[in-house]
């Protein structure tokens, strides 16, 4: 991973100010951090530790407990393949294999150009559209393995 140091943005700072006094704020603040950087950078976690007066060890504990929080930067486009029951039954697993094959990376890894990472996710709750793949919040439903190349191409073109 790159050694780039992340800077705290004014927006994030304002958010922390707003939530500072509220009990149980840590997870909400971490959501904001992840939304800002795509992961939880160590240097930001250290700052939050002092701003919220929470030990860094506790932040690490919370970050590693919840699946949603990442310690490493993901690709620009995050391909989430649903492997919930309904999607699995309708071929979610095959989609996953096809994405891995075409991108040449395994699950939870990022392509060398930093463009794509592939994740397995559990039920997204739109089972009527199974099997479902979500790319940066955009839902692609009722997919077959032949659709995979088109999806990758679409985002590659966007750069």
């Amino acid at each position: 991973m790159s050694e780039k140091t992340e800077q705290m943005t004014p927006e994030l700072k304002a958010f922390i100010e707003e939530w500072k006094g509220k009990p149980g704020n840590l997870i909400m603040v971490l959501h904001k951090v992840q939304q800002t950087y795509g992961y939880i950078p160590r240097e930001i976690a250290i700052e939050i530790s002092s701003l919220l007066d929470v030990p860094l060890a506790k932040i690490y504990g919370v970050v590693t407990f919840y699946n949603f929080f990442k310690l490493q930067k993901a690709g620009k486009y995050i391909i989430q393949v649903c492997l919930g029951t309904a999607c699995y039954l309708r071929g979610g697993d095959d989609l996953m294999k096809e994405f891995e094959r075409q991108l040449g990376v395994g699950v939870n890894a990022t392509t060398p150009d930093g463009l794509f990472s592939v994740e397995a996710v559990r039920c997204l709750g739109c089972c009527g559209l199974a099997p479902v793949v979500v790319v940066n919040g955009e839902v692609h439903g009722k997919l077959a393995t032949k659709d995979v190349a088109g999806i990758i191409e679409k985002y590659r073109k966007l750069g």
Partner: protein
């Protein structure tokens, strides 16, 4: 209502993903172009339930029901249906490729359903509080605040026989009673919207389609148990439901239905959202409370139960979304009305997300006591591809699978299904 026709377009997650939002935009564009926007109103509703056939468009007052509508179909619907009053046959749902069914009431998928929890889903615009109010919304909170004591509210819910829809089936009134009986002081009301079981999206659809019903119910519960603060713990994976809740909370504030001195009654109640972060275990109530407090979501043994020692050690009631959505209706129509629906031991209805290899997947609500067979074959339209039924899995990962030899009803199914 000054409009001659209403075009309801499903704005649930599944239909949006199938391009429902583009259909809405196209309707608005064409209606404005033809200057029909004064007589026809386009409404984005919550989930209409028939996700398999989305995007769904329903036209009132005729109740015509169009399925798999694409933006390029909109022009024809406007020209034929809205201008000339002729049904566009090719877009109607058609199970046997034979006779065309036009109204929703004629579709088998809807005939066996009974909607209490989903009463407003697909009917109102979930981002307009006026729509909710027009359907008796916030009438129950008014009745509770001005005509009932907290004890009477708890008594009514006890009498209704409502049991928790999160999975355990614990009598809701009992939970409220325990919390009410705790000494006065800070208490909390929590809504569990951490729906995580594979294939389950009942709660998400309720929140997306009718967020105010949950806010109203939480306020009623808050009044009954003596809590001034509520939290909705919702999965971060439900961005649309989160947005609709944020909009709803703001609107309720603006009208004095949340916040200080609600409707001038002297009762204060406020609701905040807290996001889950992808931990399945946080659907369990003690883990959920840990997570709201900003900790790792580790469950702890009970007792003490949350009704005695919950959030930050204070008495806390935790109810599931679907349970709460029943509350305003019970208050408005009375426990005796609710009591007549369902079976001898379990009252009311149950919402199911019907998914997998059935012909009609989607969101359904049936009276307790409905058999699995009715759900799969009558509502679900049988097995995809004309195959034979092998097994159904009810609820999440905990319950056993059911085969064609084991008749089970919606009650046992519901109790097995967890949130």
């Amino acid at each position: 209502m000054a409009y001659q026709s209403y075009v309801l377009v499903c704005g649930g997650t599944a239909c949006c993903s199938s391009g429902g939002d583009k259909v809405v935009a196209e309707f608005k564009r064409i209606l404005a172009e033809q200057k029909l926007d004064e007589t026809v109103q386009v409404v984005t509703t919550g989930c209409l339930g028939f996700c398999e056939q989305g995007p769904i468009v329903k036209i009132l007052p005729q109740g015509t029901f169009y399925v798999q509508v694409k933006p390029e179909d909109v022009k024809e619907i406007v020209a034929e249906h809205l201008v000339k009053g002729r049904v566009v046959q090719r877009l109607c749902y058609d199970p046997e490729q034979a006779k065309k069914l036009v109204a929703e009431a004629n579709i088998p998928f809807y005939q066996k359903q009974y909607r209490i929890v989903l009463r407003n889903c697909g009917v109102i615009d979930p981002e307009k509080i006026e729509d909710y109010i027009a359907r008796d919304g916030y009438k129950a909170i008014e009745k509770v605040l001005f005509e009932m004591t907290p004890e009477q509210v708890v008594e009514e819910i006890l009498k209704s026989g409502l049991r928790g829809r999160g999975g355990a089936g614990f009598p809701t009134g009992m939970k409220w009673k325990f919390a009410m009986q705790q000494p006065k002081g800070q208490k909390y009301m929590v809504c569990n919207a951490d729906e995580g079981d594979p294939g389950a999206y009942m709660d998400r659809s309720t929140l997306e389609g009718d967020p105010h019903s949950v806010l109203e119910a939480m306020t009623i519960a808050g009044y009954a148990i003596g809590a001034s603060k509520g939290f909705i713990y919702i999965r971060a994976e439900y961005p649309l439901a989160i947005r609709r809740l944020e909009v709803a909370i703001e609107q309720a504030h603006d009208l004095g239905l949340l916040g200080k001195d609600i409707l001038g009654s002297g009762f204060d109640f406020d609701i905040e959202l807290r996001f889950g972060a992808g931990a399945f275990v946080c659907g369990e109530e003690t883990a959920l409370l840990q997570s709201i407090e900003g900790n790792r979501g580790m469950p702890r043994p009970r007792p003490p139960f949350p009704a005695v020692k919950g959030l930050w050690g204070r008495p806390t009631v935790i109810n599931n979304v679907e349970t709460l959505a029943n509350i305003p209706v019970i208050i408005n129509k009375g426990a005796d009305w609710f009591n007549k629906i369902g079976t001898a031991t379990t009252k009311g209805t149950k919402v199911f997300a019907l998914t997998g290899k059935v012909n009609n997947s989607g969101l359904i609500e049936v009276p307790m006591g409905t058999t699995l067979r009715e759900i799969i074959f009558d509502i679900g339209g049988g097995i995809r591809g004309g195959h034979q039924f092998k097994a159904a899995q009810t609820g999440g990962s905990t319950p056993r699978s059911t085969t064609s030899r084991s008749p089970r009803s919606a009650r046992s199914w519901a109790l097995a299904a967890s949130s």
